[in-house]
């Protein structure tokens, strides 16, 4: 079914205590799309991502995952919904006391009844996808930052989620590795039929992979533009979005 809405936010307000981070966020993420959350530093991109994966309850608004109201149910209900999510954290967030293989195996051990050899086979497969099979028995402290990120991606894929969240996937990676990661994301989207929400300000990668998106403004604390990064670059008239998409300084001289 084309244009099926997987996630929808309606008038979401995010705040830490009395301090409002973003308000009036409404968006729909369609099945199979790669949705970019854009904006300058400190505008609340990561906070929005946090609330979408259930780490921060919005102070107002409604959030639906499929047909389910995410925040209406109890914790167990949210955990069930979270099994549809795979999250790649900014620096991988691998559990440091376990090997890479054990990191990926843990969700499978916790939430399935599969036998150890079957789990091992699936772990190898997920690591094979990201080209990290040789690191299966290494500890996170023994591999480089880029590899940690890829291993984090493999862990995000552990339970075959249909919605993937990436927090700054290419931050801290060299251009070649980052381009390869972009291709990997596209391949995984096409292969798994997953929907991807990506928080990033890596423009080249956004233009390459994202086909929908939202632009958050730090000053007005609201979204100010919607559409794919390419469209925003070519057609958006808002001076701030224009400046962001073309790497210019805005009128006041800030980047």
């Amino acid at each position: 079914m084309p244009d099926q809405t997987v996630l929808s936010l309606r008038d979401i307000t995010l705040s830490f205590g009395p301090k409002v981070i973003q308000k009036n966020i409404s968006l729909d993420v369609h099945k199979g799309s790669i949705f970019a959350v854009m904006g300058g530093s400190g505008c609340g991109k990561s906070t929005l991502l946090k609330s979408m994966i259930g780490l921060l309850r919005p102070s107002a608004g409604e959030y639906h995952v499929g047909d389910e109201n995410y925040w209406a149910g109890n914790e167990a209900h949210r955990t069930d919904l979270n099994h549809r999510f795979g999250v790649l954290f900014q620096s991988g967030a691998l559990w440091s006391s376990m090997t890479i293989g054990e990191n990926i195996a843990l969700p499978l051990q916790m939430f399935t009844d599969l036998k150890p050899d079957v789990i091992r086979r699936l772990v190898e497969l997920k690591l094979g996808f990201v080209g990290m099979l040789q690191a299966i028995d290494l500890y996170p402290s023994e591999i480089s930052g880029g590899m940690r990120k890829r291993a984090g991606l493999a862990r995000a894929l552990a339970l075959d989620p249909d919605i993937l969240f990436f927090d700054e996937p290419s931050a801290g990676l060299d251009p070649i590795t980052s381009a390869r990661l972009d291709d990997l994301i596209l391949n995984l989207r096409d292969g798994l039929g997953a929907t991807i929400i990506i928080v990033s300000h890596e423009l080249s990668s956004l233009f390459h992979i994202a086909d929908d998106g939202i632009f958050l403004d730090a000053k007005t604390k609201t979204p100010i533009a919607r559409g794919s990064p390419r469209d925003l670059r070519d057609h958006c008239t808002d001076p701030q979005v224009h400046a962001f998409m073309h790497r210019e300084r805005d009128e006041e001289g800030n980047t």
Binding site: W95, S96, S97, T112, D113, L114, K115, V118, R121, L122, L125, K126, G128, F129, G131, L133, Q134, A135, I136, D137, L138, Y139, P140, S141, L157, D160, L184, N187, L188, D190, G191, L192, G193
Partner: protein, 389 residues
């Protein structure tokens, strides 16, 4: 036309339940077709493994796929296809990827046909004697490193006195507040109970000889000479030493120590001096406080159990120990403070950079602190015996 068919597991449900994942090879020698059917879900745990010799008879051929009977699939199917891809690669058979649907093809193309061997940690077994030797050398080295760290800290302290130091006063104050006033409650409770327990033990025995009044001497001497200093040090090793080690090893993980080193800010004066100094400042006070509270504990028990007047207990306590024993306990508390501060900082600096390493460092700091304090106390006892204190 020689139709050869090889069927894959699980064979039990050939007919009937057609949702189980099934495969078979059909077709001629040169153009075998892999026919897949059923539902291939990884979660069900019934994904078949493609046998290593599954393509033996079809060597030198071109393998194509027929997937029209697959009803649903996820990465489980890809796991099977990956098996096949590796076996085919080893057998020198090429796969006709174009006959796979797009998504399967894209995922399968990500997977290497000849994956690199996983990197393993080689465990070299050392001979027993060598292990002992290595550990001994490591222990001696560690003593040297801690001494050097102590020397650097003393140097930093001298520079502080001369006004050329880079220690921040605010660090010293916060550390001192944490090691001093905030520790009063727990030090008080423990020493009170120790004094009370000593009085109980003593009272039971001494009463038999009608020497109940000597409970005051027993509690006084024990607290001043040993218990107040040792118990306070053990509490501080667990409470403050563990905290220092955890804090410094977390800084290590955040590259904060590296940043200090690059700026040329010596860790010895910036980090270690305030912690060691704060313990050296607070430990004697905590020792005095511990002595008093311990005697109070003994007093409460003695007064309620025995036929002693408060004035009598007080008088007996004051005459029980001389200034020498007091100086002895006081010196010990200073040494314990310096020891706990130095070792916990050293353990924190030596720790690895992961979350698990922080836990290991904190544990080690507490264990080394407690064992070390008791060992040093034993050394002091021997010295005191020789000197006749």
């Amino acid at each position: 036309m020689t139709d050869r068919t090889e069927t894959g597991s699980p064979p039990a449900t050939q007919s009937g339940n057609d949702r189980t994942p099934q495969w078979h090879l059909q077709g001629e020698q040169n153009a075998p077709v892999m026919v897949l059917s059923g539902t291939w879900q990884a979660r069900t745990g019934n994904i078949p493994v493609f046998p290593k010799d599954g393509l033996k008879k079809a060597s030198g051929a071109h393998l194509s796929f027929q997937t029209s009977d697959v009803q649903g699939w996820d990465t489980g199917l890809i796991a099977f296809l990956w098996d096949l891809k590796r076996v085919a690669h080893d057998a020198g058979i090429s796969l006709d990827m174009q006959t796979l649907p797009g998504p399967m093809r894209q995922l399968l193309e990500l997977l290497p046909e000849a994956p690199d061997e996983p990197v393993h940690h080689k465990k070299v077994r050392q001979p027993f004697l060598e292990t002992i030797g290595t550990h001994t050398i490591a222990a001696v080295t560690e003593v040297g490193v801690v001494s050097e760290l102590g020397a650097l800290t003393v140097k930093g302290a001298v520079q502080t006195v001369l006004g050329r130091s880079r220690m921040r006063l605010i660090d010293l104050l916060t550390n001192t507040a944490d090691a001093g006033p905030y520790a009063l409650l727990i030090v008080g409770v423990v020493n009170f109970l120790i004094g009370a327990i000593l009085a109980f033990v003593g009272a039971v025995e001494l009463q038999k000889f009608a020497a109940g009044i000597y409970v005051a001497s027993l509690v006084g001497i024990a607290m001043v000479r040993e218990m107040a200093a040792v118990m306070t040090a053990i509490i501080m090793a667990g409470r403050t030493g563990g905290a220092y080690a955890a804090r410094i090893s977390t800084m290590q993980g955040n590259e904060e120590i590296d940043a200090l080193n690059v700026f040329g800010i010596p860790t010895s004066t910036y980090l270690i001096l305030p912690t060691v100094l704060s313990l050296i400042i607070t430990m004697p006070f905590l020792y005095l406080y511990g002595c008093l509270i311990g005697m109070l504990g003994g007093f409460v028990v003695a007064i309620s159990m025995l036929d002693i007047t408060p004035a009598g207990y007080f008088h007996q306590t004051v005459t029980a120990f001389g200034i020498g024993q007091f100086i002895f306990g006081f010196t010990k508390s200073l040494v314990f403070g310096a020891f706990i501060g130095l070792t916990s900082c050293r353990i924190g600096l030596k720790a690895g950079r992961s979350a698990a390493d922080v836990g290991i460092a904190a544990t080690r700091a507490v264990v080394v602190g407690i064992v070390g304090v008791i060992a040093i106390d034993a050394i002091f006892a021997v010295i005191a015996d020789v000197l006749g204190i």
